[in-house]
Symmetry: C2
Subunit: 392 residues, 2 copies
C-alpha cells in the first residue's frame, strides 16, 4: 500500500499543458510561462489511476512515508513528521502543527524538499530563512547526511537563533541585499540544492507543497469528512495551496464529494495574496509595514495562494497584530501556546465571523517559543506573598 | 473499548496490603507506612479482569483517553497528549516526548493529575516547578477551566519563564525556603489541588505515573514487541516507574511475555536513586553539585525509582554534563534538538555500553528551547562571505 511514488511530472501553474520531467526540480519556476515580473510555480502530477484507496484506511499517524504513492520519492529519512493532533477550540478545530519534529509545519515541506536534494545527489542544501524553515531544513539535511547553509537574518529572536544553529548547519547572517545573490552563487557554483525561493514572485520548491497535502489527508481521516472551511496562516501560501491540493486529490480519487473553502490569513501589514485577489492579478508584490508576525510577513506573494482561494471559493483575510495577539492569548488560555504568526488561522476565522455548513479547521503552525520578545521578561519575585495576592 | 476507568484503589508501595479508596488522591504519601524520614508513594490498582484486550489493537495515537480503562478517570479535557513518534537513532530508538502539547513528557502526567483536581472539585491547582512541569500543569489547568498557581524559580531560563507564564497561570518566584510552606498553605487554606511533591522523600501525585504508563503501551505497539531495555532521564523517577508499570500490566494482561530492563539515567551531580540502590535503602536524599541539567537535578529521590530498577533487573546510570552535551549534540545532528536533561536517556545508554537481546529505547523528554543558555549567542554576521567560508 505504501509503495513507491506515483509522481509523474512537473506541471506549470501558468499553463497546465506545460509539463516537465519530475527531475530535476525546477527551483526557478516554470521556464515556459514565467516573465521578468511574474514567475509561475509548478506542481506535481501523479498516476492517480494506480492509487490504492486503502491508503486512506490508514491511521493519520506520523511519518509522511505512509502517503508515499502520492508524494515525490522520499529519499530523506523521517523524523516522524505529521500525524499532528486535531484539538477542539470553541466551535472550531485547531490542527496543531507545533507538534512536528522541529515544532512547526515546515517539517512536512522539508521531508519532501530535502528528499529532492538527496535524489539529485546534491552535496548539501541552502536556504534563506530567519526561523522555522531554516531550522527544519537544517534538521532534515543533518538527518540525511547533507550539509546545510542557512542565510539568516541578524534580527531573528535569540532563542530562534539557537534553534536554527542547533542542527549543525552553517548559519551566517549576511546583509539582506547580499542574501539572494549569495544563495544563487551557492547553488550555481557549489551545486547545493536550494530550498528557498529564487524568483521575482514566489515559486519556492516545486515539491514543497506536496508535503503540506498530507494535512488534508489527515484532516479527512480525523474528521471523518471534508471540513467546510480551512484557515491557514499565510506567508508564501505554500501551506494554503498544499492543503487545498490534498482535498482536490481526495475528490479526484472519489473519496470525498465536497471541497473546503480555503482562507488565506495574512498580516495586515502586507498581504500580497489579498492584493493579488483584489486586483485580479496572478501574483502581487506589496510594501510591508511593521508587524511582529515575522513568520508570515513578506512582500512577495505567489500564484499558488491565488489559485487555492479562487478555486475553492474562499477569501484572503488580513489580520492585525492586535488580532493575532488576542488569538494567541486565547489559544494559550486553552493550553496551546502558538507563535504569533501561528495564530493567524484562528485570528482570520474570528475576523471573518461567518457561519459554515460543517466543521471549520484553523491550522496553527508553530510553537510560542519562536516569537520575538520571548525571554524579555522575568517572573515577579515576591518575598512574602499573601494568599490573596496569589488568587487575585 | 475506551470505556470508563477501571481504577479501583490506591495501594501503598511501602506495603502492598495497605490499600485506600481511589479518592481523595493521597498527595502526601502513604499514611500507613511513611515515617518522618521516608515517605512511600502510592500506585493505582485496576480491575484487570475486565480489560478488553482489543484496547491494544488500537493505533498508538494522541489523546490518553484511548487508554481510559487503565487510567484514573479522565475528567480534564485533552490537548492531544501522547502518541509520540519512535525515531531511529543509530542502534537505538528514541521516543520523542518533545512532541507533546507543551513539548515535554509532563503532559502525560498532567492530563491525569489535573483530571484528579477536576474530580475533586478543586478551584485550582498549585505546583512548584521551574519549567516543564509548571508549564504543563498550567496548560491543562487552563484547558480545564481551573486556576493555576506556579511557584517558580527566579533562575529559570528566560524563555522558560515566558513559557510557564503563557498559559495564564499566576506565576511567582518566591525564595526557595518559602516555596514548600506556601504550597502547603495554598492547599490547606484555599483548597487547591497540589500537583507537586509534599513529602520528605518524593511521592508526588499518586495518579501521575499512571499517565506515563501509556509510553509503555505505545512502545509495545510501535515496536511490535517489548523492548529489551528502556533508558529514561530521571529526576524523581515518576517517568521511569510509570513506564515500568505499563510493561508490568502488559504482562499481567497476558499480552507480553517479557519485561524490559529499566535504566534510571541521573545527573552525576546528584543521583538520589543511584545512591538508594547502591546503599540498599528505599529512597535517598543527596547533595547536589553544579549541573546545567536542571530538569533532572534534585536532591530528593523516591521509592518508585528503586522499585522499577530493582524489579526489572536494571541499573542506575550517572551521567556528567559533558556526556549529556555530547548526547544532546549528536541527537541534534540527527535532527532532534533536545533539552540537556532530555538527552539523559541516550547519554546513559552510551555510558553503559552494553549489548541487549532486543530493541533498546531511550526516552527523550523535552525540546531544546528550554535549556539554560538558549538565546545567549547571536549569529555571526558576515559582510561578504566567501563560498569557501560557507563550506568550511
Amino acid at each position: 500500500m505504501n509503495g513507491p511514488s506515483l509522481a509523474l511530472r512537473q506541471r506549470s501553474l501558468g499553463d497546465p499543458s506545460a509539463e516537465f520531467p519530475l527531475f530535476p526540480p525546477l527551483t526557478r519556476g516554470c521556464p515556459a510561462t514565467s516573465t521578468d515580473s511574474l514567475a509561475y510555480p509548478l506542481e506535481i502530477t501523479y498516476d492517480y489511476a494506480k492509487v490504492d484507496r486503502r491508503l486512506f484506511a490508514q491511521e493519520p499517524g506520523p511519518d509522511l512515508a505512509r502517503w508515499s504513492p502520492l508524494l515525490p520519492p522520499l529519499e530523506a529519512p523521517t523524523l516522524g513528521e505529521g500525524g499532528t493532533p486535531l484539538v477542539e477550540f470553541g466551535e472550531v478545530y485547531v490542527k496543531d502543527e507545533s507538534r512536528n519534529p522541529t515544532w512547526s509545519h515546515k517539517d512536512r515541506l522539508n521531508r519532501v524538499a530535502i528528499s529532492a536534494a538527496v535524489a539529485c545527489g546534491a552535496p548539501g542544501v541552502v536556504v534563506a530563512s530567519s526561523g522555522n524553515h531554516g531550522a527544519s531544513a537544517a534538521a532534515y539535511a543533518a538527518r540525511a547526511g547533507l550539509r546545510a547553509i542557512v542565510l539568516a537574518s541578524a534580527d531573528s529572536p535569540l532563542a530562534v537563533q539557537a534553534f536554527v544553529r542547533a542542527y549543525g548547519a552553517k548559519v551566517v547572517s549576511v546583509p539582506v541585499e547580499a542574501r539572494w545573490p549569495l544563495l544563487r552563487e551557492v547553488v550555481d557554483r557549489l551545486g547545493y540544492h536550494p530550498v528557498s525561493n529564487q524568483t521575482v514572485t514566489h515559486t519556492g520548491h516545486p515539491f514543497g507543497p506536496e508535503g503540506y497535502k498530507t494535512i488534508a489527508y489527515e484532516l479527512f481521516l480525523q474528521l471523518g469528512e471534508v471540513p467546510a472551511a480551512v484557515f491557514t496562516p499565510t506567508g508564501y501560501a505554500e501551506l494554503l495551496y498544499g492543503v487545498w491540493k490534498g482535498f482536490v486529490e481526495l475528490r479526484l480519487l472519489g473519496l470525498a464529494d465536497r471541497m473546503p473553502r480555503m482562507f488565506s490569513c495574512e498580516t495586515a501589514a502586507g498581504g500580497p495574496h489579498a492584493r493579488a485577489l483584489a486586483t485580479g492579478v496572478p501574483a502581487a508584490i506589496v510594501e510591508l509595514g511593521p508587524t511582529d508576525a515575522y513568520g508570515i510577513a513578506g512582500t512577495v506573494g505567489g500564484h499558488r495562494g491565488v489559485v487555492a482561494v479562487r478555486d475553492s471559493g474562499g477569501e484572503a483575510v488580513l489580520v492585525t497584530d492586535d488580532e493575532l495577539r488576542r488569538a494567541q492569548r486565547d489559544l494559550a488560555r486553552q493550553g496551546m501556546w502558538q507563535e504569533l504568526s501561528g495564530a493567524a488561522g484562528v485570528a482570520g476565522y474570528r475576523r471573518l465571523r461567518r457561519d459554515f455548513d460543517g466543521p471549520v479547521v484553523c491550522v496553527a503552525t508553530s510553537s510560542g517559543f519562536k516569537d520575538a520578545g520571548v525571554g524579555s521578561e522575568r517572573y515577579p519575585v515576591v518575598e512574602n506573598p499573601s494568599l490573596e495576592s496569589l488568587t487575585a
